[in-house]
């Protein structure tokens, strides 16, 4: 058993009372320690609190920081989505132009029968499709 058990218990009880806001007379055996307890209570006890105006000001500052950060995040992601749709629309437009121009010459579909020019149209389609697929896959991995 700790030889200081009596003092230990008295000091703990005295500290509890001081921190609860009381001002008890310390037992003679812990007078020196009691002075330290009272000094610590003045330094960092429950009555030591930041000013209410400061608390509110800092809270508002954190809200502003939070909004700034999250607005930036949302706008980054919206910008990314817009770029993606622009790419898809561009590719679709190129495909449409190819289809329309080859149909106007009346040879769309002849490609499957093996002419060099017709095969080129399908190769272009495949390349564009692969490009879009590749970009989508790459963006998915980045997220």
């Amino acid at each position: 058993m700790d030889e200081h058990t009596g003092i230990t218990e008295e000091l703990a009880a005295y500290t509890d009372e001081v921190l609860a806001g009381a001002d008890p007379a310390p037992p003679p055996s812990i007078e020196g320690e009691a002075r330290i307890v009272r000094a610590l209570n003045r330094l960092i006890g429950p009555a030591t609190r930041p000013d209410a105006a400061f608390r509110q000001r800092l809270r508002r500052q954190l809200v502003v920081q939070w909004e700034k950060e999250h607005t930036a995040e949302v706008s980054r992601s919206a910008r990314g989505r817009w770029r993606m749709w622009a790419l898809v629309a561009g590719v679709a437009a190129v495909m449409l132009v190819i289809v329309v121009s080859t149909s106007a010459r009346g040879d769309f579909g002849a490609d499957v029968r093996g002419t060099a020019l017709g095969a080129g149209v399908w190769v272009t389609f495949l390349a564009l499709g692969a490009l879009v697929g590749g970009v989508l896959w790459w963006r998915g991995r980045r997220r």
Binding site: D2, H4, E9, A39, R49, L58, R59, Q61, L62
Partner: protein
């Protein structure tokens, strides 16, 4: 009531109210911990730095540690930064001094005016870390001895005994 860790997780997922709940829960404790080491006129500035640092690094909080442990690490880092900045401005050659000596160097009032607060802060900073921590848990965090025992995984008797030794160490240092 949500645990600190649950609030931290929600804050990491973008819940602003969870972050503010953590702020409301900890602002007084953080301020008091800072007051244990920093002159009162700078305590609000350092408190502000702490919460801005928490905001910036919240995504790095990993849930295998207690939120309070992580937060108090940031508090200690910001206090050290505060003294580094002050030491740099007051005497560039003092950089090799120990942290405690540096604190006394930038707080000459501890000697000159025999100011109780500054003297106590200087002595407190020189205490072994486990003594500092038990005093902070009881005074600054407002935990009961029972709660401290639970948090530290020690018996109530061991915690009270450690507390007595910490108080007596301060008394010895003051030369009372």
């Amino acid at each position: 009531m949500s645990t600190d860790e649950a609030l931290a997780r929600r804050a990491q997922q973008g819940d602003r109210e969870a972050f503010l709940a953590l702020y409301d829960r900890y602002v007084d404790r953080v301020y008091r911990r800072i007051c244990s080491r920093v002159p009162p006129q700078y305590a609000e500035d350092v408190t502000q730095e702490v919460f801005l640092a928490v905001f910036r690094s919240l995504q790095h909080f990993e849930h295998h540690a207690r939120f309070s442990t992580w937060l108090y690490t940031i508090v200690n880092r910001q206090i050290a930064d505060f003294y580094r900045r002050r030491t740099r401005h007051s005497d560039p050659t003092a950089i090799s001094l120990t942290e405690v000596e540096s604190e006394l160097l930038v707080m000459p009032e501890a000697h000159e005016r025999n100011d109780e607060r500054a003297l106590l802060q200087g002595i407190f900073a020189a205490l072994p870390e486990h003594y500092q921590e038990i005093i902070l848990m009881r005074f600054a965090d407002g935990l009961t001895f029972n709660e401290i025992a639970g948090a530290r995984g020690q018996s109530l008797e061991a915690v009270k005994s450690l507390y007595r030794r910490a108080i007596q160490a301060i008394r010895d240092a003051i030369g009372d």
